[in-house]
């Protein structure tokens, strides 16, 4: 049902509303307050309502309701209609019974189907998409003549990088082994062991691979943190710029420049 609304008016009012809501949320800098809560509760309500409307309009209605409206007698009873419409309607009905006290157990059928299918998708994707390819990727050649396809690296630079990536991979996997021997529950995780090297006897942390893995993990966390910080800075930048433009628009509307 089309609703005729003046787009300029809609945009103006909308921009004003968005600016007010932005300021209300930014007021959290001063501390938790009612304005912030109003804005967030409003957001949750709108987001939930919109998601529900999209799920109905784009998935359930076209798949389950529209076929009945466009149904002709020849299609009724056909295999695709039964498997594509009738059965899903039944499954959705059973799922809805989860909200009914006493009959919720019947909703176990669609839930079991969802979980079984989801688990299979996760397992299949993890094995074929990550485990095998990444394991193979970790076994890169140490040949100094090989060339990295993406970066074009070669020679010593590539060998060092490949070695670092390999040590990082193995060390990270080794780090997540938290088993301890009986009686050593409170012992420190790492110790020092004197090891002979071509450069002489030096103390190295032991066990060495978990220690190295921890180093690599914290480097990765640092990179991720810096990336997240820069991303959120962009979010804040966009909001501040929006406020500035909204204020400019409002002021120009109030005080039009002749």
């Amino acid at each position: 049902m089309p609703v005729q609304i003046d787009p300029v008016l809609l945009e103006t009012l909308g921009t004003l509303l968005a600016a007010v809501l932005t300021v209300m949320v930014l007021s959290y800098i001063l501390g938790d307050n009612a304005l912030f809560r109003i804005a967030t509760y409003l957001f949750v309500g709108v987001a939930s309502g919109y998601a529900a409307a999209v799920a109905w309009q784009e998935v359930l209605q076209p798949r389950l309701i529209a076929p009945f409206l466009n149904l002709n007698t020849t299609q009724f009873g056909a295999g695709p209609f039964v498997t594509g419409v009738v059965v899903p309607i039944g499954l959705v009905g059973l799922l809805a019974l989860r909200l009914v006290p006493g009959a919720g157990r019947l909703g176990g059928l669609p839930v079991a189907l969802l979980i079984g299918v989801g688990a299979a998708a996760v397992v299949g994707g993890a094995i074929t998409g990550t485990l095998v390819p990444q394991t193979l990727a970790a076994m890169e050649s140490f040949s100094p003549f090989a060339i990295a396809p993406q970066t074009g690296e070669t020679g010593i630079e590539r060998m060092v990088n490949v070695l670092l990536v390999l040590v990082g991979t193995v060390g990270t996997l080794a780090y997540f082994g938290f088993g301890v021997r009986k009686g050593e529950e409170h012992a420190p995780r790492y110790g020092w062991r004197r090891t002979r090297t071509p450069l002489g006897a030096i103390n190295i942390p032991w066990p060495v691979f978990p220690f190295l893995g921890e180093v690599f993990i914290f480097v990765a966390f640092g990179v991720m943190f810096a990336g997240a910080l820069s991303a959120t800075l962009l979010y804040l930048t966009e909001r501040v710029q929006f406020l500035a433009s909204a204020l400019q628009t409002l002021l120009s509307g109030i005080f039009p420049i002749a």
Partner: protein, 211 residues
């Protein structure tokens, strides 16, 4: 009866799960049609589950309003916004300008601003880091963050100079070699865990769907 239904649900989950799983490795042609059908059912059920989640949210806040719990006016506002948005979306369509305006002028600004507040929180956290904790891990973390930030954005003075370029290279080396190695290990670990969890469900050892 309780145990019987549970076994039926487990049988269904395992059967349909195996039908989907075989498509990743064997992909039998006879099962391709059934596999597609089962995946379609999963798509429909996922949408229905989203609706149920929204209904549950509605019920929780309605009970808060009914019990006049602390903060019930906020819940009333949430319920009102939810109902209005849903009704407008159902009657006018989610593609109508009104609904799109609701998304653009309410949801997107608030969500973006909330994400922008994270910048302040993250900065505050890292400023206080060394005053709270000083050990090897903290120093590694802090130094990495500093180098990556320096190598990411421009400088007021000397941007694009040799030092800035060096910092850029260091940043790339840290993120594309050191972090990539750790990330590969993390991805392998996550995949192993997901595989183990999924196989437990497909073998019936775990039954999160209840009895």
């Amino acid at each position: 009866m309780r145990g019987g239904l549970g076994l039926v649900w487990a049988a269904i989950a395992i059967a349909f799960g195996l039908i989907v799983l075989q498509g990743y490795f064997i992909d039998l042609e006879v099962l391709r049609g059934v596999r597609t059908m089962v995946l379609q059912w999963a798509v429909v059920l996922a949408a229905a589950a989203l609706l149920l989640g929204v209904a549950n949210l509605l019920a929780v806040h309605l009970s808060k309003i009914g019990a006049q719990e602390k903060g019930w006016p906020y819940s009333a506002m949430l319920v009102g916004a939810l109902v209005v948005t849903l009704l407008v979306g159902l009657f006018f369509g989610e593609e109508s300008p009104l609904v799109l305006s609701v998304f653009q002028y309410i949801q997107q600004p608030v969500e973006s601003t909330l994400a922008g507040l994270l910048a302040i929180s993250l900065t505050l956290g890292i400023v206080r880091l060394l005053s709270r904790r000083r050990d090897m891990r903290t120093y590694i973390f802090l130094i990495t963050v500093f180098i990556v930030l320096l190598g990411t954005g421009p400088w007021l003075i000397g941007s694009n100079g040799g030092l800035h370029q060096l910092m850029g290279e260091a940043r790339a080396w840290l993120s594309q070699v050191w972090a990539a190695g750790a990330a590969r290990g993390l991805l392998l670990g996550v995949a192993l865990g997901a595989t183990a969890t999924g196989l437990r469900i497909l073998l019936g050892a775990d039954r999160p769907y209840g009895d």
